[in-house]
């Protein structure tokens, strides 16, 4: 009886995904998107959903994960350390960002959180083009917190660094300038059982994206989690290839 209680306690503790610490690197942090409500909602969604998705996984293959737009590296780092959520599968994370400062900070965040260097690989690559898949293989998981904020044309920033920072959140006039082409092509990045976790805001009209963009491109989409943050309603959606997923 006593032993049973102890074991279940350990089990519950093991399921908690640690929130990585972002190190202070002089001259770097202010040039990179700082983790905010959207980043934390994405972490919560992954913590909840990965356990469910992998509890019956019979495979012990390495789990190939891609984060598009890694920013500070908070999500990539959490995933690189998430093996306890993955029922024995070992994560191998590729972290992409169009901002070289974000790539450098992601490497530092990995180090600061004792990520095995073999589990986290950073590449300077524009998310707009990565959905044509520059990799030799496809992924089990693709994670993306896209630039989703609607910004009127002409609201440009003055120098290169703040321009790169703006690219991390500027979603163009309707907020969907990045999201629609990415979602239209992301199937090339996913293997047959693969899933995309995409953060969206009410501004992006998620239901429209599922019906008019994901479905015609062979993907199903379901909401995993939602939360109100100030004026916006944030949600995380899971997309999978049609007819092949178990859900």
């Amino acid at each position: 009886m006593f032993a049973f209680v102890t074991i279940s306690k350990i089990f519950v503790m093991d399921l908690i995904m640690e929130t990585p610490v972002i190190p202070n690197v002089t001259g770097l942090n202010e040039l990179v998107y700082e983790p905010a409500e959207d980043s934390f909602l994405l972490l919560d969604a992954l913590e909840q959903d990965l356990v469910k998705s992998f509890e019956e996984s019979g495979s012990d293959d390495v789990l190939n994960i891609l984060e598009v737009g890694c920013g500070s590296g908070i999500v990539s780092t959490a995933l690189a350390k998430s093996e306890k959520l993955l029922n024995g599968r070992l994560p191998c994370v590729f972290a992409l960002d169009v901002n070289p400062n974000a790539c450098l900070l992601t490497n530092k965040t990995g180090e600061a959180n004792q990520v095995a260097t073999s589990s986290l690989h950073t590449i300077l690559l524009d998310g707009r083009f990565c959905s044509r898949n520059p990799f030799r293989f496809q992924f089990d998981l693709v994670i993306c917190n896209p630039p989703y904020v609607p910004i009127l044309a002409g609201e440009n920033t003055e120098d290169e660094n703040s321009g790169l920072l703006q690219q991390s959140w500027d979603g163009g006039p309707d907020g969907n300038t990045f999201i629609i082409p990415f979602l239209s092509n992301v199937r090339h990045l996913l293997n047959n059982n693969g899933s995309l976790y995409l953060l969206l805001s009410s501004w992006n009209n998620p239901e429209m994206l599922v019906q008019d963009v994901a479905n015609p491109n062979g993907l199903t989409g379901v909401q995993v989690i939602k939360r109100t943050a100030g004026r916006e309603r944030l949600s995380v959606w899971k997309f999978q290839k049609k007819g092949l997923s178990s859900e």
Binding site: L104, A116, I123, L124, L125, F129, R132, P134, F135
Partner: protein
């Protein structure tokens, strides 16, 4: 950039490129950083690795002695081999250099250990 990353990347997002693999590798600065060896991880990773490409990469950056030319048949049980594979894949890093598309000659610089795969809109399919 670890040689593992080089083993996984192609230039096939560029217009008219058919395979885009392997990318030629040139190194101006190489660093070797010891890192935690996890035999299970390396062993599960090896089926995904193109060993010939990894071997060529070690040759092209002055790390000729790092690994044998062929993949060991018994690698799952061969710790000595797995340690060498770990070293080549995850400990040897190109800090500065470039990768070159085998079909178009397009160069992808490597700076501060990070491969730069940025392309312009008019270069992609």
């Amino acid at each position: 950039m670890k040689l593992f990353t080089h083993n996984m990347l192609t230039s096939k997002m560029i217009k008219n490129v058919k395979v885009g693999y392997p990318l030629k590798l040139h190194a101006a600065e190489v660093k070797v950083t010891p890192s935690e060896f996890r035999s299970t991880y390396v062993s599960r990773m090896l089926p995904k690795i193109d060993w010939g490409v990894l071997y060529e990469a070690t040759q092209s950056i002055g790390q000729a002695e790092a690994i044998p030319q062929s993949l060991a048949d018994d690698y799952e049980k061969n710790e000595d081999f797995l340690r060498k594979a770990h070293h080549a894949l995850f400990e040897i890093e190109v800090i500065n250099g470039e990768m070159i598309c085998p079909e178009t000659g397009r160069k992808f610089p490597i700076k501060d250990g990070i491969p730069n795969m940025l392309v312009n809109e008019d270069e992609v399919n």
